[in-house]
């Protein structure tokens, strides 16, 4: 198995595996005894155009909108295996104007007590082959570097002249999903 990818590392998926037609992005975390934190975590996927902006709010895939308008990106209502959330991406169906697919994790800012991602023990993302479920790459544990952040961009799939690549981002946001939405143009 390949060593875990560090922040900023990338890999050329379709160049390395020419037969790759789809991937599963698995998001996992461990909140320990912080049950309220684990229940308020939300994994979201943002489909972005060349300017790294979401064309509309429909390109924000999460538990209340499980599939993108073009049906290329879908979040499973019940993840399989050890992942907390799983997002299936059919690379061939991704529209040509979508250039990157960003996976984020945030704490929903609800009426309950506030939490931060610094309370997480473990947090990461991995990529599986959609055809056979085989794990291709995984990120390092991104949790130790988190403090007061309430959202984090875990990784992204993006187009490259050589094909689809995957990159571990690991960037945290103190202002939560509002900060991510502002960066990627998602209307809240």
């Amino acid at each position: 198995m390949a060593p875990p990818m560090k922040r900023g590392a990338n890999v050329a998926l379709t160049q390395e595996i020419p037969s790759l037609t789809g991937v599963v992005l698995g998001v996992r975390w461990n909140a320990g005894s912080e049950q309220a934190l684990a229940e308020n975590l939300v994994a979201a996927t943002i489909l972005c155009n060349e300017q790294s902006r979401a064309p509309s709010e429909e390109y924000f895939v999460f538990f209340n909108q499980l599939i993108s308008p073009d049906l290329s990106v879908a979040q499973l209502a019940q993840a399989l295996g050890d992942d907390r959330e799983q997002i299936e991406v059919d690379l061939g169906d991704v529209p040509a104007d979508i250039h990157r697919i960003v996976v984020a994790l945030y704490i929903n800012d609800g009426p309950g007590a506030r939490r931060t991602l610094g309370q997480l023990r473990e947090c990461g993302i991995r990529v599986l082959n959609l055809a056979d479920g085989q794990e291709l790459v995984r990120s390092e544990n991104l949790a130790p570097a988190l403090r007061s952040e309430t959202a984090i961009c875990l990784g992204e799939l993006y187009r490259h002249p050589t094909g689809w690549k995957f990159k571990v981002i690991g960037q945290g946001y103190d202002n939560g999903i509002k900060g991510i939405a502002a960066d990627y143009g998602v209307p809240l």
């Binding site: 073009d70 061939g92 040509a96 104007d97 800012d109 609800g110």
Partner: protein, 411 residues
Amino acid sequence: MTIDAAAPDRAVKRTDLPFLRRRSKPVAAAHSKIADFVTGRATAHAGQPGARPGQPSAQPLNPSVGQRTAPVPPRTTPAARPPVPAEPRPAPAPPPTATSSLDLFAPQPVSPQPVSPQPVSPQPVPPPAHPRAASGPPRSGSTSLDLGSPPPAPATTQSASPARVASSTSLDLGGPISLPPHAAPTRPSGSTSLDLAPAPPAAPSRVPAASTPRRAAPAFPEPRTQQGISTILTPFAPTVTLTRVQSGVGSLTFEAVVAAGVGDLRLGVAYQLRSGRSSTVQHHAGRRFAPPGETRRPIIMASRQQFERLALDLRQVTELERCVVYAFSGDGGRLRWGGTLVATTFGGDRIEMPIELPPSDAVAVLASVYNIHGQLVLRSEMDLIGRTVREACRGYGFDRITWLDEMSPVD
């Protein structure tokens, strides 16, 4: 005992019994179009020596056909096909260009080479180089009244090919074509406007030509909020629909912005969850959380700052079926209704519902929220419906709440 197969040929001709037919092997009607048609030779596919129309295929079809997530079946690439010499035709067929407009022949075989039944290991094939795209040139001799049956599907790997035969006619009544996953179907080059066969789905490619959303658009434009502009709900435009993002991110708050002259206006909410559980939240009565006692992660929470405030946790919006926001007099006195009920999304969009009711001490349902397939629909009700909370709730169909008194449910 041995049987001499040539014995009938050597039998002496019985001239005294002319009614007896001489037994002899049938001679093929040499080069006759009709004979070819009757014997079915003209319809035999070049890739299937001996195959006849209607003859069942010896090889079962690929069971994974049509399954979107099934593994990619082995494909036969052009380079993987073994070189097979062209099969000699049983009879010298006339040149295709010589056929008339009443050509009763079946379509000529497309490819002169039989297809290898040996699957090869799956290899990525770019769409332009798909083997089915080069399966053969269109038959120029096909006419608009070609009554010949379509060539039988070969029982090889290539038999699952969705490619329509290039010599498809205008009366092709063929049924739907099974497609293997990730197959690249090609439309017949000779297809006409009378081709009643359903069109095969578009071939998925690595980079589609354009972004064409396939989710069905709503039948009517739903009223939405606008960034930076308050949405005012009136009796003529009483509803607004939040997007799925607005309905699932953060929280949705309700606040009664009223002047002191209105009286002791208090808010409450009656809710119904997907689980069937139903009750009320009312800060004035100390019932601050929904479900009752859920202080760690409530779906609805009531609080009071300058005004009374209700907050819905949208992380749990899938649990919420509906709710109504009601207002009543905290001290039992007469309310001079006024002010505005303000709903605010997590992104800051404001929905304002003016409270315009005649002075009364009754309970008024101010707004309702329905979860319609993940989208919250807000409606300004402004309905003086009952003298008590119990009457107001029953008036809006909350019949699964049992009551301690006219103001307090039993939980």
